[in-house]
Symmetry: C2
Subunit: 241 residues, 2 copies
């Protein structure tokens, strides 16, 4: 196995703070980073521009954006005409899996990451899932990642013919949002380039969806100011809703 | 669980003879069939027209075609500018995984099938993989299907929150091509609607790729004539290669 291929890594990059931190971490370990983003019919398509900014700022070998219209299937507040739930504080976020869940999204993303990894001869796929400060999605849990690892081992030519397993790595899975922001700040991540909001109003984050609330809590716990702009801070001249 | 949803099934439909037989089988069991096909950058795009013909002939509730350009990743004779291997007889097909392998294809297809199933409230996904008369692809083996079942159990809201597991079923996996054709003939499948060739010349199958050779062997073993047209039978007025 040549060293170059060992070093090649696929990073699933959404443009949010978790995946930006992940990219900075993987980059700091000396990997050649191949970033993969998805134009999947999400209402917060602005995250793709954020992903490009982050990829450029941190440094990648390539940044591939795949079109896969999960909106064709519907049934999620992120891809269909269903309201994104809003709350006043993070404590108000309900139990259970919310309507922002996109059916089988991380299975789809990892499967395309696997195709990309095998095509590039990469031996690592990094995904920024997190099972502590998260929205309760089943496909963010460590047991899901382990199950997908087995699929990768059995379903690829690389692993079955050449013994070159592709490892699925989720280094943020057990970290709190505050831990992630602390680590990323240490790595020099510019969080002003990122976006987390499920339901942005133009350039502004809504400040009240689960993603905004969890993000804000993470910055607060670090005693840091979140550098992005929120609608509820009153810095929007005119409101559209 | 209402009976209607129990009956709903997703069928991955390529337009080849295996998936046509699969659809006929699932339909004969009384399922409401939701067919899913993929426009993935394959050179044999004519299979999508075949999939439509088959879906119409057998009867489906809906037939969804998803665009997912696996050609963006390259690295396969089916999606990139790499020659499809040709042989004179089925015995000449080599050992090992051929260059027609598309990285992680069935993982991608099953993941999208899973998203579709969850969106539709379907409890079954049928895939026409076959591990006897096949091209040696790792993602056609029973152990791969079992591994993906675990991903489906852990990675969906349906299974984790409501206990509604989505079963991944591959009823053709241990059948020979001859067995599949015999069963399909009994179910009334019109194989003239299907296509198997990896490298067709217009309306004609090449007759020499792995898929053509395995198909022809299956018909011969049943003492049946394959109703599609092959280039090597000499029934093409002008050749382009």
């Amino acid at each position: 196995m040549d060293r170059e291929k060992l070093q090649r890594a696929i990073i699933l990059l959404s443009g949010g703070l978790d995946s930006a931190t992940l990219l900075a971490l993987v980059h700091s370990r000396g990997h050649d980073c191949h970033a993969l983003s998805f134009n999947y019919g999400q209402r917060h398509k602005g995250e793709l521009a954020a992903a490009s900014r982050v990829a450029r700022a941190i440094g990648v070998v390539e940044h591939v954006v795949i079109d896969i219209d999960l909106g064709q299937f519907g049934n999620s507040a992120l891809t269909a005409d269903i309201d994104v739930p809003k709350h006043e504080t993070v404590e108000d976020i309900g139990e259970g899996i919310p309507v922002t869940y996109v059916p089988a999204r991380n299975t789809v993303f990892l499967s395309l990451g696997l195709a990309f990894a095998e095509s590039r001869g990469a031996r690592h796929i990094f995904i920024g899932v997190n099972a502590l400060d998260y929205s309760g999605y089943p496909d963010c849990r460590p047991e899901f990642i382990e199950a997908f690892q087995r699929v990768a081992n059995l379903g690829t030519k690389a692993a079955t013919e050449s013994g070159q397993q592709i490892s699925i790595e989720a280094p943020l899975v057990d970290m709190t949002k505050a831990d992630i922001i602390a680590m990323g700040s240490g790595l020099g991540v510019d969080y002003s380039l990122t976006t987390s909001c499920y339901d942005p109003i133009g350039e502004y984050a809504c400040g009240r969806c689960d993603a905004c609330l969890l993000r804000q809590k993470g910055f607060q716990e670090n005693g840091l100011e979140d550098p992005i702009r929120y609608k509820k801070t009153g810095d929007i001249p005119t409101s559209t809703d």
